[in-house]
Symmetry: D2
Subunit: 352 residues, 4 copies
């Protein structure tokens, strides 16, 4: 720890939406001190030129990305970059003794061939990648606690997996019946000029995208297969809806035991997440609103059973930039450091 009694951390890719969340969260975290912001196109600028509202909070500037410098200065590093860049940086940072939390897809896959097929980049860091742990604490808390390298989950994956995991783990559904209809806001598209993400285009409209071929599919399937103990294919369809933040995943699946009723399932979910302070199972008859989770690391889950069709419908709501990205990375770091996993993370959304 530095003089402040806080551990020094850095962010590579600080000027994007993932980065600016991390800046805010690290500023408010009692055990972390932000000592490095790295970027490419924004190198040389004060951070407050990119985000003027933070002018009173940080006088850091964005620096060019120099792995030597980062490794010397930081004890933990968040990589918040487009897919395919982290895998060129992580090895050197790990070599320098840093803990690395990658927010891209580079270290999410057990099988790099799956990554190569879906992301179109050949990988040479197989040994390193094998040490990476999938950063969903509610499922892999123990392994995260011993990891140096964490591949933080995709936003849709976080919402989907928290909704479906108890069902698969307990063998309550026929896995091939699972359908995930996910709804997200525009911030998942990042802070770059993009016509479909213009307010003029995205507002007052809803549509599906990447139907039957979204890259989060193999990631969801990897974890589902792990939980089920055999290969599972899921139907995953993301939709863009006119809001800034938030994901609602609606999961449909057929119950193996048609005798189960809603309250049985609620009990099972409550038990499954008993040690997971960030997952809140809603009371019978209450369904989650994404708004409830905005700005927090929370995941709200609501459950319904349709006795007419023997299906369960599970709805989970998160903030895509928080539990779906930045705050979940800090939750992982808390665990890697042996701290309470709630340390320094917001749990009260402002409403409305």
């Amino acid at each position: 720890m530095g003089d402040s009694g806080r551990i020094p951390v850095g962010i590579v890719g600080a000027s994007g939406y993932g980065g600016v969340q991390l800046v805010r969260l690290i500023q408010d975290h009692p055990n972390l001190e932000l000592v490095y912001l790295g970027g490419d196109s924004t190198a040389g600028k004060p951070f407050s030129e990119i985000y003027p509202h933070l002018g009173h909070q940080t006088d850091l500037g964005v620096e060019a990305i120099d792995l030597e410098v980062i490794g010397n200065r930081c004890q933990a590093v968040f990589l918040s970059l487009p897919n395919g860049l982290a895998c060129d940086m992580a090895p050197a940072l790990l070599e320098k003794g840093c803990k690395v939390l990658d927010l891209s897809a580079d270290y999410r896959f057990d099988n790099l061939e799956t990554y190569e097929v879906w992301y179109g980049k050949q990988r040479t860091d197989h040994a390193i990648a094998e040490t990476a742990v999938y950063g969903l604490p509610e499922l892999y808390r123990d392994r995260i606690s011993e990891a140096q390298l964490v591949g933080c989950p995709g936003c849709h994956c976080t919402a989907s997996l928290l909704a479906i995991s108890p069902l698969l783990k307990q063998g309550l559904i026929t896995p091939e019946s699972a359908i995930i209809d996910s709804k997200t806001g525009t911030s998942g598209g990042g802070r770059k000029g993009s016509i479909p993400m213009l307010l003029s285009e995205a507002d007052q409209s809803v549509g599906a995208y990447n139907v039957a071929r979204h890259r989060h599919t193999p990631e969801i399937e990897q974890v589902c297969s792990d939980l089920a103990g055999h290969e599972v294919l899921v139907q995953f369809t993301p939709h863009l809806i006119p809001m800034i933040r938030g994901i609602l995943a609606t999961v449909y699946a057929t119950l193996r035991d048609p005798g189960l009723v809603r309250d049985d399932l609620l009990t099972i979910y409550q038990a499954f997440y008993r040690s997971s302070p960030w997952v809140k199972i809603l009371p019978s008859g209450t369904y989650p609103q994404t708004k409830w989770a905005l700005g927090t690391n929370l995941c709200y889950i609501g459950i319904e059973v349709d006795p007419r069709t023997d299906r369960i419908i599970v709805m989970s709501a998160i903030d895509n930039l928080m539990k779906g990205q930045a705050s979940q990375a800090i939750q992982c770091l808390n665990i890697m450091m042996g701290w309470d996993e709630t340390l320094g993370l917001p749990q009260l959304s402002f409403y409305p």
Copy 2:
């Protein structure tokens, strides 16, 4: 016809969102003349006091609801009222020789017991209700052409049924596999003070509602069963999303023949809707945006097949207040009158 060469029509329940659409559409229709606006709480007011932007278009006022007066003055009447009121008015209007188009649920059901269970009102007009035709022209065009009484479909039902009908009619899917995830804006909630529909509550949020028990379920099932030739249960889940108008229904179903590819399905859909000018099948790889349909009577349909899961995903987009309500009612009236079914209806949305 009156002196204008147009037939005189009236709207009961003119001050709601369904009513104001009808006023606009009738004003622009070459064969219709608006001669009566009826309301309860707004009776006595000029219509332009309720909707000031229409002050230059109509000097009609809202009158109390007097069935005798309406029947004498109008050749066709649109009933745009809360559920359970139309069935008390339609018999008298039909008796006076009016064509009646009901926008509520009262005349949508073949089996009034289903209505009574889901809507909680006992019915005494069985003989009349038996003459009613379900007002989805793409499926029941011929019967509508001979009807005096049309029960116009629910908004979610229109989007869902146009998406799924070709599959059921041709026996391409296992019916019990059908899952409908529907997304709609706030205008479906009507023009009344309602906390969940406040911009403060509904904006920046998404959530499901009436899961496993929405009243549109039995209506969808009635038509699906009719098409399939046997009883079909569907999983229908509506979601409220932060926009004013529009519905996107995403339909998932398992193909009976896993050899079918996307282009086969596109061909089947194009053939099915060949004589339906208001349904547009999108080219391969294009998925609908609700924005494209706003202000029009159009339904845009996009199709995807997932060869990994043997499922078809069909997405349909409509304007809930137009094809999902008011303009579809006029499409029905066009057919009842023997006119071209596109007569007087908007087919170009403004964009963006």
Copy 3:
């Protein structure tokens, strides 16, 4: 006229928001036939690839911009391009006998020096520019009727000038007291990747831009000075608000005669716009909502007088892409052709 009995018209810059409005409006216009779409980056594409929802309405493709071809094929041409391009094209098109309607700033200024200062481009087409008429029909209807070249007004300018003109023309206010606070949606920023226009950035926020130096200032001042008979400076401040379309201009000015009351002003405004079918003066106590004008060529004006301060507050609402851009250009063409100025233009917004 062509075989269709309609005059052939073309659009240069068809793929932007101005262009797509024009396509829709020309399709619905009884006397116009769309025969040419020109573009630069989109040349060679079918128009329905850019706007899939129009696939059923036009099979035109976007062509490269060839002035010879355009001039031969079209009787009237709309130039919907970034500032500084139209002045390189208009001369050749006029030479070929086309009527030219420019939607950019190139032909809005009586004094090209003002243009050169504010827009940073030197001009060589002074003789041509002198023949251009400012395309605000409510003020310059007669001159437009005889023009071959019309410089269509800026969107903020249209709303501002329709609000303030009666006051200046009649000498009712001290001109230097005029303050215009204008609020607009994102579509004015065009269909291009732009970070501040992303839904993620623009939604849930409001801010001013180009304060004390927006390019619409000299354009408003030119017309104000013309009306007042002497040079007038105005305070003009635009704000970006989270909506797609629409402008509300709130105009504050000090009345010369403190004895005037609201109803006096309403009478004056009604008289001023008696022959202007597109301007609607609202009844006493009613203020305009931009929503009322969406999709139409209308301008709604509301008036208030504050007897405590002797100020008048005038609010005007338009659709920035319609009366503020595309439909106003067609209104001008209607006048240039000697047709009724309402011909083919929408006057009923859908609501809500």
Copy 4:
């Protein structure tokens, strides 16, 4: 202080938007403990039934309003009620020794006649009202520190006064030239069914309301007059824009000394607010976005001078429910208690 070492506080009117902000803020405040929630229509309900997302944060229920109980249990009480109710409660609570912070208009006026004229209620609590201090700490910090009863400012007033105060205090403008054009979201309308605040109505639209007669006018004038040392009338016009939270006040005024340039004014503002940690003066050329302030107690101020007109334009941005209401009340309580005025209050908005 109680066992927790925190002082016990209560909220009367807890179920509205002001109340739910206070609940969140008090939960996160190190020196406060929430011990009472009072309401009328919601009495008897658990608070988490009204706001399910808070179920994991509080198990308090809403109690009926009993002043004796409140006075015994609480050391400080926030009254978050419609206008005209607090004045019937505050006397008894003060009598019991409570500090009272009223969020309504009841205790904002030095002259109760002004209140009676604008709010239409006769008052009998003149002696008590005379002891009330206007709760804008940046202007009245010293008086607040000695107060038992604080009348917290209106939301528009906070934004307007923070923007204009330095100009009046220093005599830099002609006071009668001041025009305030204010833009706010829907949450200011509260959590009650209201047709104009429906998303269907308020989204995609902007309009002014209560022009020349909004009740915040006399409140702004009272403080302006106090600062100027003579009676000042201001022109204040609120606008409703389609967003949930936030106010932007754009203030126009004529400079007495036309020689002043932007940087002079920035220096004056920085000096004026040197001891006010919640006001941030933006650098030259940067204008505030309301989004920057969301969820925080901050006020961002940007300044422009137009040398062509000798006017200054000041823009201030706040969160209407925070600095404009709930968090400002806690800032006042911090001062009343002798604590640091930033204690426990959020200063980092999430973005975007």
